[in-house]
């Protein structure tokens, strides 16, 4: 399965939007945090996990999903949210903690919920797995079309929730796919230090399900493999596991000095940045010109800028709004 021209441009758009969103957040995050870096300050307080470099995992998979399909993401959710079609204005407003945010500022960047496109996430490692399996079950029981996709980091794969959820999805033959974003690091701990096998794809055998390994953060290959797995799931063929070698181009969170990274690693990763690679492909395969690209990128950036402006101009919630929505 290779992407159509439209799909290629769709993926490129979402990748550029996602990256520019992260770059914008990075800048804004640091406002008010200089000269002294204090997480509590600035327009965007709290922890911030950026997804720079992991865009292929988002677009290669979500290219096959409809708004009615379900996605759960991790503590590092922006790229997936963008690809899944989460309302960008409301999402950025949520990241700013504004009243106009997806949850009126109650969640923040690790708790992006947009039920209109069936997107959710959790700040706890591995805990997106069970809910995605449950959504897949719900779809199957309701006889409704639809698949559920759970993203998880390679570090989180060593959490019990992974094992339980995959077994459950397999026993019940659910339309469920798990995407392992293997960026080689769980904060400061390297994959080899935490994981008993080189490739998590072999773990699919423990659940009798197909396991795929995608190397080199390859957008097309992700698209191909995810397309196959999602189609099988839609046709009642049960769950699959896909591990993707991707790259974390930023620190674990903003403020991470990354002293643990081997020298040169970051530079090597940056040299293989998937976004220029995607651009080059569009130029080679679809005749994208420099000029058209500049126009496209500018239009994508405008979308983000608009969302950021919307967030900036929105009101803070009043303190006592904290007491609302504890119960449904």
């Amino acid at each position: 399965m290779t992407p159509t021209r439209d799909q290629k441009f769709w993926m490129y758009e979402k990748m550029v939007i996602s990256r520019y969103l992260e770059e914008s957040i990075e800048k804004i995050y640091l406002e008010g945090k200089k000269p002294i870096f204090n997480m509590a300050n600035g327009p965007i307080p709290g922890e911030m996990h950026l997804s720079n470099g992991q865009e292929p995992c988002a677009v290669g998979v979500c290219a096959h999903l409809k708004p009615s399909d379900v996605v759960t993401s991790t503590h590092r959710p922006h790229h997936v949210a963008v690809a899944k079609g989460v309302d960008l204005k409301k999402m950025v407003a949520e990241i700013f903690g504004k009243r106009t945010g997806l949850s009126g500022g109650r969640g923040g960047h690790m708790h992006i919920f947009d039920p209109s496109v069936n997107f959710a996430c959790s700040g706890i490692i591995g805990q997106g797995m069970g809910p995605a399996v449950g959504a897949a079950l719900s779809r199957k029981m309701q006889g409704k079309d639809g698949v559920a996709v759970a993203y998880i980091g390679e570090g989180a794969v060593n959490q019990g929730a992974f094992h339980e959820a995959l077994n459950l999805a397999a026993v019940w033959k659910l339309p469920f796919i798990t995407i392992i974003e293997d960026n080689a690091w769980g904060i400061s701990v390297a994959k080899a230090q935490s994981t008993a096998v080189p490739d998590n794809s072999v773990r699919a055998q423990a659940y009798g399900m197909p396991g795929y390994q995608v190397r080199n953060n390859d957008t097309y290959e992700i698209f191909r493999v995810a397309g196959e797995a999602i189609e099988r799931a839609r046709n009642g063929g049960g769950p699959s596991l896909i591990e993707i070698e991707t790259s974390r181009l930023a620190g674990h969170f903003m403020g991470d000095a990354e002293g643990y990274r081997p020298k040169g690693e970051l530079q090597a990763l940056r040299a293989r940045d998937p976004i220029p690679a995607m651009r080059a492909r569009l130029m080679a395969e679809e005749g994208l010109s420099e000029a058209d690209d500049a126009m496209l990128v500018a239009s994508y950036r405008a979308i983000v800028d608009e969302a950021v402006a919307f967030a900036r101009n929105s009101e803070d919630p009043a303190g006592e709004e904290a007491l609302q929505h504890v119960f449904a």
Partner: protein, 350 residues
């Protein structure tokens, strides 16, 4: 007034186990989105009988046995409930909460809030509590305080079959997550021993009991005894004993810990001036402290004597019968607490 008191004697007396199953069945008949998940809830009918007969009527898709994977299926309950289903999910013993508490504490309880109310999480987490039959320290706990302390979930603790049915119906119909804690010693399962007072008249038709309304199960003027679940029956027994001495105890069944009907408790204590809290859960940092603080912070002057608690000591639950019975609340301890109250230094006693 307790509704069951008005019912004709000997008419359709159900155990709590049967009352729970009846409510679930009725809701499943009217609402196809309701289903049940858990360990051994299918053909076995639930270790504590509260899903008995359901698989025969609804089949194994909607009465769904799970692997022993609580983290996965509690998480799945959240996901399915956010996707249009209504879940009744069983944690076989509340003691097992620790293997899946994140799914409960950080997702089930909080996703409504995290989504600003845009996501609903209609899950009833039903779970068995309590000891008294020597099941040891990992199968006898109550943990009322642990769950009631957690924001975002309603906490229901029925003491009799009438309430059990009506509260289950409300739980299933609620769009928020509810933890429904049934005491093994009240289930009406002979093999666990059973408190006869829990098996009462239950109307056939579906009905709902609102949350946050405590029941005054015995009227009195001299002391207020507050509890939930098994403690209510112990309180009633103590009240009988005290009545023989001319002391009229008022007994309050909280029925739900979240929301907590602080007003009913306060009004009673304002009248009696004396408060005893019974709790089979661990004593410190839990239910008993909360009830006492509720009165003290609202108006200390209504108390004529230092309030007392008859609660499980802060120890793991021992296996041996002699030690477990020593540690459990009972009617005699409540009567002693009342006597003790008389002895404490007070300024307005009589």
């Amino acid at each position: 007034m307790t509704a069951q008191a008005a019912a004709p004697a000997n008419e359709r007396r159900l155990t709590i186990a049967r009352a729970m199953a009846e409510s679930i069945a009725q809701e499943m008949r009217t609402d196809p989105s309701v289903f049940v998940m858990g360990e051994d809830i299918g053909q076995l009918g639930g270790v504590f009988g509260n899903t008995r007969g359901l698989i025969e009527e609804f089949g194994s898709e909607r009465i769904r046995d799970t692997p022993i994977s609580e983290t996965a299926f509690m998480g799945a309950a959240v996901g399915a409930a956010s996707d249009g289903m209504r879940l009744v999910v069983e944690l076989m013993f509340v003691d097992f909460f620790g293997v899946c508490f994140d799914a409960i504490y950080n997702s089930m309880a909080k996703n409504v809030y995290f989504s600003g109310g845009n996501v609903k999480v209609p899950v009833v987490l039903m779970t068995s509590t309590g000891g008294g039959y020597s099941d040891g320290g990992q199968h006898s706990q109550c943990l009322y305080g642990t769950f009631a302390h957690l924001p975002g979930m309603k906490v229901v603790v029925p003491s009799n079959a009438y309430d059990a049915k009506g509260l289950m119906t409300s739980s299933i119909r609620d769009d928020s997550p509810v933890i429904y804690m049934f005491h093994k010693g009240l289930q009406g399962m002979g093999w666990l021993g059973t408190e006869p007072g829990a098996t009462v008249h239950v109307p056939e038709e579906a009905y709902a009991i609102p949350f946050g309304k405590a029941a005054v199960v015995r009227k009195g003027t001299d002391v207020t005894i507050v509890s939930v679940g098994m403690g209510v029956h112990q309180g009633l027994k103590a009240a009988e004993k005290l009545a023989a001495e001319g002391v009229q105890a008022e007994v309050i069944d909280l029925r739900t810990l979240v929301p907590l009907d602080r007003d009913t408790v306060f009004d009673s204590v304002a009248k009696t001036g004396r408060l005893i809290v019974i709790d089979e859960d661990y004593k410190s940092y839990g239910l008993s402290g909360e009830i006492i603080a509720t009165i003290a912070e609202r108006d200390i002057s209504v108390l004529k004597a230092s309030p007392q608690r008859v609660a499980y000591p802060d120890i793991p639950i021992p296996f041996a019968r002699s030690m477990e019975q020593y540690a459990l609340p009972n009617a005699d301890k409540i009567v002693s607490a009342f006597r003790n109250m008389k002895r404490t230094r007070t300024w307005r006693w009589l």
